[in-house]
């Protein structure tokens, strides 16, 4: 019965669609406070994970470290989240404040036992493992996940369990509610636990989000040297299936051995295919300018992260000097000055790359509507800079400035505080791995799991060099699922560089560019412009002169006949 309801809901959504990424009405009213307990007192990767999950419901989120909490902080809030990422004794003032709090309190992870007024139970500080989870009442749809741990909570009648964790055939409460307060018994809200938690959050926020699954397919790493035939073949599959899609485009390919840079102007065939796909349902996503830093290969290298040093891009690739630590400085001020300098470098570097990327693509008639950092790696500062250029970000987010490998996705579209206003369309299903024969099935299976979240995003990427076949497999598997494929051209996106503004809405892309600056500032574009114009002119020349040749043949015929007729009449006369 429920299945039919889902289908019905989905159908209603299709007809009454306001776009797949619908914003919660009056989202700003849900003033949310996150109280956290990180060791360094800073908003950290853990808080950012939560940020990603909560910003699906509201953009009005404040973060405060538990040690700095003031009772005033709760003022006007409708929701408070305490994120216990470590075991500690919470300040009395905070606990007192919570005791009298009338909004919705949600506790995550450690220290649940200190919120005595809200919960009748105490989670055991001991963790137990689980590898299945499911929403209450949907046990038959439980999903298998890599091993995770949960604080054990004894089940009693007071508690309403919203999500279950199952390990060794034993079910344990994962998220539960008691007297209007919620507890998530996981020490972490990283995916895949975040998937279930994300759905439960709809209850916590009493959200009206309907059952609907936006999704996208992104053709990945499209650079000038991509095989145009395979790219076209892959794109055609999507076009035939009437699926709008994204193309992660990199304007410059750098050969790691020779260092030679190739642009789309050097590969007009590839460019033509991308232009064709853009016209037929594809939307361009800027995927870096070169997708590399130092001498690495395009598509392999990182562009906005120094992987060698595991730091943001703080210096020229060829500069061997190490990044200094606070201990290298006598005063705190000196260190901060130094850091400011590094950040200035990062800003310059990032701005240049993004400006060039947007402008070069625009010059080639490709209009990026969103951004995706190469390998999803970018510093927090980087996201801030990117937000000045893009209104939409696509993919996973790097959550730590210490380690690029800390990255995650929310299960649905969000707009976390650290993206400074960008809408994030997360990638949730991974990609078709070339060597994995089960890749398509795995994606389809993960899609099922994603769809446990009432408006969970179903999104993956695909490398066109694999050809069309493997993409068809996935699409066939997803065909009957109620997925609303995102068309970026419908999403009110805005992209802004020094010389170009691109806005999209209602399927139309509007480009406002300073053509002269565009083509004179970049040697590549200037060359392309000249070449393109020369091409047009030469083919016009061909057309006009062909016509002339035909005309002259006709004239010759007419004139010859007239003369011979005259001659005949001369002879007769």
């Amino acid at each position: 019965m429920k299945k039919y309801l889902i289908v019905l809901c989905a159908l209603l959504m299709v007809f009454a669609s306001t776009g797949p990424v619908s914003a919660e009405p009056a989202a700003e009213d849900k003033k949310t406070l996150v109280v956290y307990s990180s060791v360094n007192h800073q908003v950290d990767e853990d808080e950012r994970k939560l940020d990603m999950l909560l910003s699906h419901f509201t953009k009005n989120i404040d973060f405060v470290h538990v040690s700095e909490f003031q009772p005033d902080d709760t003022k006007d809030t409708t929701h408070i989240f305490y994120y216990g990422s470590r075991n500690e004794q919470l300040p009395d003032s905070f606990l007192a404040s919570m005791d009298s709090y009338e909004g919705t309190l949600t506790v995550i992870g450690h220290n649940q036992n200190q919120f005595k007024d809200h919960f009748s139970f105490e989670a055991s500080p001991k963790l137990s493992n689980f590898n299945f989870m499911y929403l209450d009442g949907e046990k038959e749809e439980k999903i298998k996940i890599p091993l995770q741990s949960v604080f054990t909570v004894p089940v009693n009648e007071e508690i309403e369990v919203l999500a279950w964790a199952e390990g060794g055939k034993k079910a344990k409460p994962l998220v539960m509610e008691e007297n209007g307060a919620y507890y998530a018994a996981s020490p972490d809200v990283i995916s895949p636990v975040s998937t279930l938690f994300g759905d439960v959050l709809h209850d916590i926020y009493q959200s009206s989000h309907e059952e609907s699954h936006p999704g996208y397919i992104r053709l990945e790493d499209i650079h000038p040297l991509v095989d145009p035939e395979k790219l076209k073949e892959t794109g055609e599959v999507l076009i035939e299936n009437d699926i709008p899609f994204m193309m992660a485009v990199i304007p410059v390919y750098t050969d790691p051995e020779t260092g030679r840079r190739s642009h789309f102007s050097d590969y007009p065939e590839t460019l033509e295919v991308i232009q064709y796909l853009q016209e037929n349902g594809g939307s361009v996503v800027l995927h870096g300018y070169t997708h590399q830093y130092r001498a690495s290969e395009t598509g392999e290298g990182f562009e906005f992260w120094d992987v060698e040093n595991n730091t943001p891009i703080y210096k020229e690739g060829r500069d061997p000097s190490p990044i200094k630590r606070p201990d290298d400085f006598h005063t705190r001020d000196a260190y901060e000055d130094y850091m400011a300098e590094l950040k200035d470098f990062e800003r310059d570097y990032t701005e240049t790359k993004l400006n060039k990327g947007i402008q070069e693509l625009t010059g080639f008639g490709l209009y990026p509507l969103a951004f995706e950092a190469p390998h999803y790696t970018m510093s927090q500062h980087g996201y801030e800079i990117a937000s000045e250029f893009f209104s939409t970000y696509v993919g996973q987010m790097q959550l730590s400035d210490e380690n690029w490998q800390v990255m995650d996705s929310a299960p649905y579209s969000t707009s976390p505080s650290f993206t400074h206003g960008m809408t994030v369309l997360p990638e949730t299903l991974g990609y078709v791995e070339p060597d994995n024969k089960q890749a398509a099935d795995e994606i389809i299976q993960k899609a099922e799991q994603q769809m446990m979240v009432r408006d969970g995003m179903v999104s993956f990427f695909y490398h066109p060099y694999l050809g069309a076949e493997r993409l068809s497999e996935v699409i066939d598997g997803l065909k009957d699922r109620p997925i609303e494929w995102i068309d970026l051209k419908e999403e009110n996106t805005k992209v802004q560089s020094d010389e170009v503004t691109i806005t999209a809405a209602d399927g139309n892309v509007n480009v406002n560019k300073n053509t002269f600056q565009l083509f004179t500032e970049s040697k590549t574009l200037f060359h392309y412009f000249v070449q393109n114009t020369a091409d047009k002119v030469t083919w016009t020349m061909v057309g006009v002169s062909s016509l002339s040749v035909m005309l002259f043949c006709f004239y010759t015929f007419v004139s010859y006949r007239r003369l011979t007729q005259n001659e005949r009449s001369d002879q007769v006369g």
């Binding site: 070449q531 020369a534 091409d535 002119v537 030469t538 083919w539 020349m541 061909v542 006009v544 002169s545 062909s546 002339s548 040749v549 005309l551 002259f552 043949c553 004239y555 010759t556 004139s559 010859y560 003369l563 001659e567």
Partner: protein, 426 residues
């Protein structure tokens, strides 16, 4: 870099080809229109102006007699026409032949020039003749010309009916066109030149170049201009420019037909053409740097055309030829693909159709044999022009650098008259 050069050369070449296409279109229209004009004028009552025909002759004993006969055959009221043969310092029998005719026929007058007023080339001879002449209209023929009987009448008809025409230019045809391959080529070339460049320019711009023979010019204009420029190697081009500058146009009226002999030997052709090329280069430089002084900017059209012919188009061909040769040895990474080959073929087709169209205007010229010659012409005769321009430019540069005297070379004549069966009565 090679790319840019190739495009530059391509555009230079094709600017010229497009201009030719445009002119050819005008030429075709004029081939129809001039007949109507002729018929209209012939129906009107006509007042014959007095005409002085000037024939400069320097050692022309081989051809002058035929010319004299043609002059006597001209249909023109006897009291309105005089033929002045300027025997310019000839060392052969030219003088005697002319004197003999002059004695028998009052129409013909002989003017023998002696140094220091002699041997100064065609311009000098014409200026001498002009001094002696009395006609309101001056008509010029080369000494090897045999105009058709109505030629002068048509030229005068043009002058009388077109007040704005400073000069009227007739058409010339080749008597020895079937003599050998060279004369065949020249014949085709002259027909094309006149229908494309002369008729086309007249149709669109009311301009034509005075060709040195078979044209009429108002005496008043010549007097205003002070006669011919004796320094100019191609006095006709130079004169045309000065006529435009007075605000007159030059009418191309192909009803007036003369027949002339063309070089039968490559060497003679070469010398003649070198003189023309140098002459035109002289004109370019004379006017290009004093453009601001010209009153009628219309000349710019012709000047640019000359500039293209002798410099830009030529430069384009040189560049594309060298790129082609270099590309045989090195990979120049040229980005222009298919289109360059298509254009190469189209360039050839344009040449063939334009020339064929011109031939179709002349009775008996559009034959399979001539068509074969046209195909052959593109790869041989037309290419000779490149070497010619290099040579002429070299000579002109030398002349300017070393301040040499201009020496007028008279085209060598050939024995044996060519009675042409193709002569049309029209």
């Amino acid at each position: 870099m090679a790319d840019i050069l190739l495009y530059i050369s391509l555009f230079l070449i094709w600017a010229m080809l497009f201009y030719h296409m445009f002119l050819m279109q005008g030429g075709y229209r004029h081939s129809i229109e001039y007949r109507r004009t002729k018929d209209r004028w012939e129906k009107k009552p006509f007042h014959y102006p007095s005409v002085s025909v000037l024939i400069p002759a320097h050692n022309e004993e081989m051809v002058i007699e035929e010319t004299m006969k043609a002059m006597l055959n001209l249909n023109y009221p006897e009291d309105k026409i005089e033929v002045i043969v300027v025997n310019d310092n000839s060392s052969d029998a030219t003088g005697e032949i002319v004197d003999a005719y002059a004695k028998q026929h009052p129409r013909i007058k002989a003017l023998h020039t002696k140094p220091p007023h002699a041997g100064k080339g065609k311009s000098g001879a014409l200026n001498q003749g002009l001094k002696k002449s009395t006609g309101e209209v001056i008509v010029v023929y080369d000494a090897d010309n045999t105009p058709e009987p109505d030629a002068v009448r048509y030229l005068a008809l043009g002058i009388e009916n077109d007040a704005k025409a400073g000069a009227v230019v007739g058409k010339f045809r080749v008597t020895n066109g079937n003599k050998n391959l060279l004369t065949r080529l020249i014949n085709i070339e002259t027909i094309t030149f006149q229908w494309l460049a002369q008729a086309g320019r007249w149709f669109w711009f009311k301009m034509a170049t005075i060709p040195g023979t078979n044209f009429a010019i108002r005496r008043s204009i010549l007097e205003k201009l002070g006669g011919w420029d004796e320094k100019a190697l191609s006095e006709d081009t130079e004169l045309s420019f000065r006529v435009y500058n007075l605000g007159y146009h030059i009418r191309f009226f192909p009803a007036a037909i003369t027949w002339e002999q063309e070089p039968e030997v490559l060497k003679v052709w070469w010398k003649q053409r070198t003189r023309w090329a140098r002459g035109n280069e002289y004109v370019i430089f004379k006017y290009l740097f004093s453009l601001h002084k010209l009153e009628k900017k219309k000349i710019v059209i012709d000047l640019v055309y000359f500039l293209f012919t002798y410099l830009l188009f030529f430069g384009g061909v040189m560049i594309s030829h060298s790129i082609f040769i270099m590309n045989l040895f090195w990979d120049l990474n040229l980005s222009m693909g298919m289109v360059s080959y298509v254009l190469l073929v189209l360039g050839f087709l344009l040449f063939v159709t334009e020339v064929t169209l011109s031939l179709s205007f002349e009775r008996g010229q559009l034959t399979w044999k001539n068509f074969a010659v046209v195909l052959f012409m593109y790869f041989t005769y037309s290419q000779l022009w490149i070497i010619l321009v290099v040579y002429a430019s070299f000579l002109e540069a030398k002349r300017i650098l070393f301040k040499q005297e201009v020496k007028w070379y008279k085209t060598q004549r050939f024995q044996g008259k060519q009675t042409n069966e193709n002569r049309s009565a029209s």
